[in-house]
C-alpha cells in the first residue's frame, strides 16, 4: 500500500505544467485544425459566389466594368497590398521575438494591426460606394445587381469580420509583449496569431482574384 501513502502529496503538486515546447505544439496543431474548419466555412460562402459566377457571367462582367469606373478596383488593390504588407510585418515581428528582440516584435505587430485597421476602413468606404450603386446585401429589386450583392458581401464581409478579430488579436499580442510574456524560446502565442493572420491573408488573396479580377 505504499502507493496510497503518496497519494495526497502527489495530488497537491501535480497540477499539469506542460513544457513550452509541448504547449507550442498543442497550440499550433489546434490552430491548424481550427483553420481547417475555417477553410470549409469560407468554401461554402465562396462556392455560392462561384456557382453564381458560372451561371450569371453577364452580371459579374457588369460588376467588373462598374468597378473600373468607380474608384473600386484601385481601392481594392490598395487594400490587397495593405493586407500583403501586414502579413509580411507579421512574420518580421515573429522573427524579432525569435531573435529575442521584444521591442522589434511590438513595433512590427503594431504595424500589422495598423495595416489591418486601414484595410477595414477602406473596405467600409468601398461598401458604402457599392451600396450607392445598388449592390446591397438584401435582394434589390430596383437594381440590375438584384441578387449579386448578397453573394458578394457574404464572403467579403465574413472575411472583413475575420480581419477585425485579427486586429483585436494583434492588439492582445502587443499587450502581452509589453508585459514581457514572450521570449526567444516562448513565442507560441505570437506564432499562433501569425497562423491566423496569414490564413486571413490567404483567403483575401483568393477572394481578390475570384471576385474582383476573374
Amino acid at each position: 500500500m505504499s502507493n496510497v501513502s503518496v497519494y495526497h502529496e502527489t495530488e497537491a503538486h501535480a497540477a499539469h505544467h506542460p513544457s513550452a515546447a509541448e504547449r507550442s505544439d498543442n497550440l499550433k496543431f489546434a490552430t491548424w485544425l481550427y483553420l481547417a474548419s475555417e477553410v470549409v466555412i469560407f468554401a461554402v460562402l465562396i462556392a455560392t459566389y462561384v456557382v453564381f459566377r458560372l451561371h450569371n457571367p453577364e452580371v459579374v462582367a457588369q460588376f467588373h466594368e462598374g468597378i473600373q469606373e468607380w474608384p473600386g478596383i484601385w481601392l481594392v488593390s490598395i487594400n490587397t497590398f495593405l493586407l500583403l504588407s501586414s502579413s509580411w510585418a507579421m512574420v518580421m515581428g515573429l522573427r524579432q521575438i525569435q531573435l529575442g528582440n521584444r521591442q522589434g516584435l511590438i513595433r512590427w505587430i503594431s504595424l500589422t494591426a495598423l495595416l489591418g485597421t486601414i484595410f477595414v476602413i477602406l473596405q467600409y468606404v468601398e461598401y458604402t460606394e457599392l451600396s450607392h450603386k445598388g449592390i446591397t446585401l438584401y435582394y434589390n429589386q430596383d437594381s440590375t445587381f438584384t441578387d449579386y450583392g448578397m453573394r458578394f458581401y457574404a464572403p467579403t464581409a465574413f472575411h472583413g469580420f475575420h480581419v477585425i478579430v485579427g486586429v483585436l488579436w494583434a492588439l492582445y499580442v502587443v499587450f502581452n509583449a509589453r508585459r514581457g510574456r514572450y521570449t526567444a524560446t516562448n513565442y507560441a502565442g505570437v506564432e499562433v496569431f501569425g497562423l491566423y493572420w496569414h490564413f486571413v491573408d490567404v483567403v483575401w488573396i483568393v477572394l481578390f482574384t475570384l471576385i474582383y479580377l476573374v
Binding site: 477553410v39 462561384v50 522573427r95 526567444a184
Partner: protein
Amino acid sequence: MADTNQTPLEDRPGSPTTDQPLDPPEQTEAPPVVEGFAAARESLAAAIEEAAPAAHEDQHAGPTHYVGNTTVLFGRVIPLPVYTVVFIALGILTLFELALAEVFPRGGLTIPIMLLASLTKAALVVWFYMHLNSDSRVFALTLLIPVVMVLLATGFLMIVPIGY
C-alpha cells in the same frame, strides 16, 4: 489459422485467467503473479525507452531557420531574406494579375492564369509565412484534406445545372 484459434479455451489446461479471485492478503506474496506483473512492467519500460526519443523529436527547439538574412533551403544555408523576398514576389504577382485583368484584353487563358497566380500566392504564404516548410507534416495534412474536400464539393455544385 493460428494455433490459439483452434483450441476451445475451456479445454486448455491451466488456461491463464484474469478473473481468478485475489488471494487473501496473507498469501499476496504468491510468486507467479508478481513475476508476471514484473514482466509486464519490464516490457513497458522497454517500450517507453524505445518510443521516448521519437515522441519529442519534432518539438519546437529555439529559433527557426529564418534568422537574420539567411535561410535554410533544402538543407543548405543561403544568404536570402526569405520573408522579404516572398513579400516582393507576392506584390509582383498581384500587379501581374491586375495587369491581366484591367490593362490587357481578356483572352481564353486569362482566367486560368490569374487563378494560377492567386494559387501561387496562397501557396507562398502558406509555405513560407505559415512555416509549413519546416513544421510537422501533420499540419500540412490538416490543411490539405479540407482543401481537397471543398474543391471536390464546389466542383460538384458547379456541375449541377440550375433548373434542370
